[in-house]
């Protein structure tokens, strides 16, 4: 057991961190909070590293039970951890990148608190951040679909909490909250699919633990193809929600409303990869459902291309990266669909490196530009301060190459890695996916290649607009570099982006072997020079094209991108994200809201409230009490007793008239009485 027994710490350390911050963070201040949160994350990474070390010795992995949880009838789900190469890989990525982002966030959120004078925010942020880490680690270390789902829901919750972190800001003072809500609802739809899959799994396999389910599935073999297809399609729905694929990706661009560390951690490196992890974990089921594999591959490739087209036309620095994430997730999902699980996981790891790097660097750029804006505003340009200024709009940037010495390099490294130029990490991982696609499905290969071309194009466009040319606003002119607490994690991530390719170099195939212990994959993708050469050439061509295009046509703030002149209405569609949100609103949201309002109006208000409650129940009751009171109680009951009293009084009054006090009257009555009595006696005797 030995070192494997440490695995619960991976989850409990972040939970301990969050508990400490919850109890003491507010009182003990920013430094305490920051230290606790980062240490918890760092220690979790340490434990993951130890587990990896232990796995090297015995790579088959173990299940480490912790406690009993549910035992209801035939369902037995314990709290247990699965320590194998797949889960440990995810743990390392999550906790490693997570720790770097925690460190970055301490500096980033410090600025936010300073500008807004709201110290409670700082503690709240790191509580949520640690909670996210704990949930994600539960997700990747669980040994059953149900424990995975617990983590799944947990990260969904944290995503909501962190997207709406600045809940009073955003469009109309509610925009951020709405973005969080959108993320939660979209995720929920995916979760519904996932739950149905879990129900189907339990009903048909009698258990929810991975080992049991996959073993039984393999036993039953291809005979259960229809069932496996259904289950895996439902799992796919769950994955499209969490990993932002078509049709449920719409929440991710809106999620950029959250602070940049949140975008980096949750929406680039970790939470969105949960869907990929889940599908990879269920590879045994996927293998039995070739129909679903096709669907998965098509969904992934389509998403990759679709999102890449949108990214080309975006002006907000984070939106470009958001759509880029959706596109890269499409690559990973396509890899899973093609059966190239190792390629998918490899790309997941490298993408975590360079996408987190890009987001954090974008955050650094934004901070620099905001600092420049402040200086410009304070330097007496009163007019500028009054204008609404968007520090995230790339058209307001430019010329930052000279002004941000560290950020420029790390951003460039991240962009090149994403574009997939050798020898950076992105080249190797993306190339492995392309090579697999080339062999298995030409259509997918062409789609992914087109997406890769566009990736290189939009990243070059972004780098050019942000860093090169002349500064296009006073803010860009006054931009300055950020302190080391911000730039140091960037440097680490840049280094990882450069050397990350070593994880699975063609020839060495370290990762393939490593993951093969869990995924059972024997086949090793050979290095295809044609594919590699073609993708590199295309990437270089795209870079050259974008650089020359934007060098020749300077962009001005608030002006339409020069690409519009070339592509015309296509570009409009790309900028408007192909009107996906508008279509969803029109087709789904508005009818639903209309239906809900009609239901509320007719059934709830008019029927239940007005009719049943007011007229029938309240009205009927009031009528009954009225009748009882006015028709029965007052006339009959009261009347009876009042009448009785009145009768007695009248009798009394009547009898009173006898008491005249007049002696002679009494005497007369005597006489009459005597006469009557005597008369009776005398006459009655006859």
């Amino acid at each position: 057991m030995s070192l494997f027994g440490l695995v619960p710490l991976v989850v409990f350390l972040p939970l301990l961190g969050l508990a400490l911050n919850l109890l003491f963070g507010q009182r003990l201040g920013e430094r305490f909070t920051a230290w606790v949160a980062c240490t918890a994350a760092g220690l979790a990474f340490g434990v993951a590293a130890v587990l990896a070390w232990a796995l090297i010795q015995s790579p088959e992995g173990v299940v480490v039970p912790l406690a009993a949880w549910m035992h209801v009838g035939a369902l037995d789900v314990p709290w247990a951890f699965q320590v194998d190469t797949l889960s440990v890989t995810m743990m390392l990525v999550v906790s490693g990148v997570g720790t770097l982002i925690h460190i970055y966030a301490t500096g980033y959120m410090h600025e936010d608190v300073r500008l807004n004078e709201d110290p409670g925010r700082y503690t709240r942020f790191f509580i949520y951040f640690n909670l996210f880490l704990a949930s994600m680690l539960i997700l990747v270390s669980g040994d059953s679909f149900l424990t995975l789902f617990v983590g799944w829901e947990g990260v969904g919750l944290c995503s909501y909490l962190l997207i709406s972190f600045w809940y009073e800001k955003g469009k109309d003072g509610i925009g951020n909250a709405l973005a969080g809500k959108k993320a939660f609802v979209a995720n929920r739809i995916g979760d519904a699919g996932f739950l149905i899959a879990i129900f189907l799994i339990y009903t048909n396999f009698g258990s929810l633990s991975f080992e049991t389910v996959f073993a039984r599935a393999e036993e039953l073999g291809p005979a259960i193809a229809p069932l496996a297809t259904l289950i895996t399609l439902c799992l796919l729905v769950g994955a499209t929600g969490k990993s932002a694929q078509i049709p449920l990706f719409v929440w991710l661009p809106d999620a950029m409303a959250g602070p940049t560390p949140v975008s980096a951690l949750i929406h680039a490196a970790t939470m969105v990869t949960a869907g990929i992890y889940m599908m990879t974990r269920s590879h045994a089921l996927l293998a039995l459902a070739p129909a679903t594999q096709n669907v998965v591959a098509v969904v992934g490739a389509a998403t990759a291309l679709f999102a890449a087209t949108i990214a080309v036309a975006q002006n907000d620095i984070k939106k470009v990266l958001a759509y880029s994430t959706i596109s890269q997730l499409g690559f990973m999902v396509a890899a899973v669909g093609l059966g190239a699980y190792v390629a998918g996981m490899f790309h997941l790891v490298t993408h975590a490196f360079f996408k987190a790097l890009l987001f954090l660097s974008a955050g650094s750029v934004i901070l620099g530009v905001e600092a420049g804006h402040h200086h410009a505003a304070h330097a007496g340009h009163g007019a500028h301060a009054a204008e609404p200024f968007d520090p995230q709009d790339m058209r307001n940037m430019g010329g930052l190459w000279q002004r941000m010495p560290v950020t420029r390099w790390v951003y460039l490294i991240g962009a090149v890695a994403l574009a997939g130029l050798p020898p950076l990490a992105g080249f190797f991982s993306k190339d492995e996916i392309l090579a697999d696609a080339f062999h298995r499905s030409p259509g997918i290969y062409l789609t992914l290649t087109a997406a890769a071309f566009l990736t290189a194009f939009y990243m070059t466009r972004q780098v050019w607009l942000v860093f090169f040319g002349q500064p296009r606003s006073a803010a860009a002119e006054g931009a300055r570099e950020n302190p080391p607490i911000i730039t140091a994690p960037l440097v680490v991530l840049a280094a990882l982006s450069i050397v990350g390719g070593a994880l699975n170099l063609p020839g060495l195939h370290t990762l393939t072997t490593w993951l093969g212990h869990t995924l059972g994959e024997a086949e090793v993708g050979e290095f295809n020079l044609l594919v590699a050469g073609l993708s590199t050439a295309l990437a270089l061509a795209a870079i050259a094209l974008a650089a020359s295009f934007y060098r020749a046509r300077p962009v001005a703030p608030g002006v339409v991108d020069p690409l519009r002149a070339i592509l015309g209405p296509l570009h409009l569609g790309m900028e408007k994200k192909w009107w996906v949100d508008e279509i969803y609103n029109a087709l789904i949201v508005h009818p639903y809201v209309w239906l809900a309002q009609r239901t509320a109006e007719v059934i709830e208000m008019r029927f239940w409230h007005d009719f049943v409650h007011e007229r029938v129940l309240a009205g009927g009751f009031t009528w009954l009490t009225n009748v009882l009171a006015w028709r029965i109680d007052i006339p009959l009951v009261d009347g009876f007793f009042t009448g009785l009293a009145r009768g007695v009084r009248r009798l009394g009054e009547g009898l009173r008239r006898l008491q005249v006090g007049y002696v002679r009257a009494y005497a007369t009555v005597f006489l009459l009485g005597v006469v009557a009595a005597l008369g009776y006696i005398v006459l009655g005797l006859r």
């Binding site: 005249v660 007049y662 002696v663 005497a667 007369t668 006489l671």
Partner: protein
């Protein structure tokens, strides 16, 4: 012989006059006199029937009645005096404090 009926008739007449006197007259003493007259009317009836029966019982009863009448007058006159002292009126109509 005078028929007994004449005596009884006279007795009845006297009794009626007495009753009327009690009922009609206001002065208390006159009421007493009327009561005496009623009593004497009763006496006359007694004697008439005693003569008719040839029995002395009726005549003895007259003595009883006379005694009672005397006692009653004594008490009654004392009452009238007491009433007169408090009310300063000898009209029986002034005794109306039991009026309801």
């Amino acid at each position: 012989m005078i028929p007994t009926a004449y005596f009884v008739g006279l007795s009845a007449l006297l009794f009626s006059i007495g009753v009327l006197g009690v009922l009609v007259r206001r002065n208390a003493i006159i009421v007493f006199m009327s009561i005496e007259m009623m009593l004497n009317a009763a006496n006359l009836a007694f004697i008439a029937f005693a003569r008719a029966q040839g029995s002395l019982a009726g005549q003895v009863f007259v003595f009883f009645v006379m005694t009672v009448a005397a006692a009653e007058v004594a008490v009654g006159l004392a009452l009238i005096v007491a009433v007169f002292k408090s009310r300063h009126s000898s009209s029986i109509d002034s005794l109306n404090s039991l009026r309801g």
